[in-house]
Symmetry: C2
Subunit: 383 residues, 2 copies
């Protein structure tokens, strides 16, 4: 059998919908030229370090920051929604211990939708969004424990999302020096315009499918290294470099041999990603000083070398670069970085699903057909 | 907490990418005005009833109909790829017996990708497409058995896809009067341009994610009643009508009370869906004559009443209408109709993924932002 690409027809041109407005949204927007990210009217600098993750979730889901009563109610609902059905534990137990956590999360959310049709099989609404966002960290933490041969930790409704996630992962009371940087990370990653995973969730929701289907698909998209699947590679790169005095030689060799430096450049930002700036500050406070120094030196030299080698390409530090330092400082291993991104983004995804279904139209694009149209069938003997 | 739609911001306009060319493809095209469907150059009438499902799979994956040696090789590979890892059986066993089969399939494909990273975690290629398409019917059949308290049926490599699916569902040698109409159905549904589930698969694949992630997302999209989730509703409607003499009164009442008649109209076709015509012929041969007569009378009166009540809307019989009769004649219950659609479409989805990755560009559309951009954070006490 010949290879899949050995076709007589012309290859389709890749467009990737670049510059095509696929949907309108009031949720968030990336101003790529200016390096600005806005959630529901608030620049990300207005929120990071000031608003809690739950306040930001309320903002994205409902359109305004909560008052005290609204915030209490959301905390109560999230706290009451962290339990998982037995079927989901059984599914997570059935997976091999070396399963990639993103695969486990995708399977766990799908199983949750399968086992909890009472909760999730209606038209997605706010209660479902809360019920699912509360369970995403619980699914991940359960798998993280099970793969080590440990029992899952029962949820504690009094904890906020960042605390609860760490508590269910590690089974100990989370320290402020861990949950506070994690919370800022969760605020920063909660939404980001019409990226590929968010668009996936909206396309699925546009068929009138259910919320767990939409987020299962979104996790599958976020897993891709061109989207959310690369932050642990920043950690791998920094570990390989090892110390500040190796930076120049390592980066030069990497660029000379055509390797891509991890943590730089973005499809939309043509300026520094505003999240990178905030995460740099978090990393400086939260990380081991030697690791922060290594990160900072690597960043500075990489930016200089990229500008030298690829002038005019406007490659800046992206969100992944300092995510690695912050998440490592919080105690997470590299393979939990992208899943933790999904903990945050599950709020944005579900907010986009709510926006989609509130005014739905099936997303079914046109395609350009680049093949022939008038071939005639011949029986196999005469081929 | 107020409702999710209670926002002060303007609601986004639904566009659904109607008329927007989102991608080029050489795989298939729907000529909506003319009511034509073309796979790789062949009108669907050239293939249905002439080409086997495996020949069509080869055509979609590789761009040409196979010669004898190529077809033998594909049969051999499909036959050798129907086994499931223990983890997938354990996951399917963990799901409640009343799980919707589409939810079980979505979870099973996701679990397959999690448990079989050796097979599925590379850049998707033809071998992966074969390996997954062979296992989709095996997953469904296993769940179908398990939910009845029966053991899954081990695969038989000598059977073709339609035979093997029925054999693994029912545990008996499939009769030609069952597997032959099923095979025509599988040929007809294998691909259909840039529909929502196919587009979902391509968006996920464009992030460089894996094949199982792409098809897991596609199953979630196909589940939606605005896409593939409605053929069993045609069966429900026909069962409710019950007999030919009730047709007129039932349809009139349904239309008077604003109900939607199931099995008519399509977003793209403004003429009869060519698949409906072929399925009508299959239904006439395969169905119980009384059920066929009921279907035919219902179709004729529905078309007449729709033309009367919604003149100019060009509502024609769609693929779902006679799918119901054909799949029921094959012995499938209504809740296995859409999953059986997925058995067929898994070939088209994987062919689209191969086409996407052969010339990839991340699918990341622009969005129009319809909210404010300059709000200022105020502490919770002052909200």
């Amino acid at each position: 059998m010949s290879s899949a690409t050995a076709t007589a027809y012309p290859m389709p041109k890749p467009e990737g919908l670049e510059g095509v407005v696929a949907a309108s949204t009031a949720l968030s927007h990336v101003f790529g030229e200016e390096g600005r990210l806005v959630y529901r009217g608030y620049d990300i600098h207005e929120l990071a370090g000031k608003a809690s993750f739950e306040e930001v979730a309320h903002l994205l889901w409902l359109g305004h920051l909560p008052d005290g009563r609204e915030l209490d109610e959301l905390h109560r609902k999230l706290g009451a929604n962290r339990d998982l059905p037995d079927a989901v534990f059984a599914v997570l137990r059935a997976l091999p211990a070396d399963t990639a956590p993103m695969d486990a999360l995708r399977t766990g959310i799908s199983a949750l939708g399968a086992a909890h049709r009472d909760l999730f099989d209606d038209t997605p609404d706010l209660e479902e969004a809360i019920a699912l966002a509360a369970r995403v960290p619980a699914i991940l933490a359960a798998f993280f424990r099970l793969r080590q041969g440990l029992d899952p930790v029962p949820p504690r409704p009094d904890l906020n999302t960042a605390q609860s996630y760490l508590y269910q992962l590690f089974g100990t009371e989370p320290e402020p020096r861990h949950w506070q940087p994690l919370e800022v990370y969760l605020v920063l990653l909660a939404d980001h315009g019409m990226n590929a995973s968010t668009f996936t969730a909206r396309v699925i929701a546009s068929t009138a499918s259910d919320l767990c289907s939409a987020l299962t698909g979104a996790v599958g998209a976020l897993k891709g290294p061109l989207h959310g699947g690369a932050p642990s590679k920043v950690l791998d790169m920094l570990n390989e470099i090892g110390s500040a005095e190796n930076v120049e030689a390592w980066l030069t060799h990497a660029l000379d041999t055509g390797q891509r430096l991890m943590g730089f450049g973005h499809r939309v930002y043509k300026a520094e990603d505003p999240r990178a700036e905030i995460l740099r500050g978090m990393a400086e406070r939260a990380s081991d000083p030697a690791f922060y120094a290594l990160s900072k030196t690597t960043e500075e030299r990489a930016l200089a070398l990229l500008e030298e080698r690829k002038p005019g390409r406007r490659l800046y530090t992206n969100v992944e670069f300092y995510s690695a330092a912050v998440l490592a400082a919080v105690g997470l291993p590299g393979d939990m970085f992208t899943p933790t991104f999904a903990v945050s983004r599950s709020v944005g995804w579900s907010a986009h699903v709510l926006e989609q279904v509130a005014n739905n139209r099936l997303i079914r694009p046109q395609s350009e057909f680049v093949g022939p149209t008038d071939l005639h069938f011949a029986p196999i003997e005469s081929r």
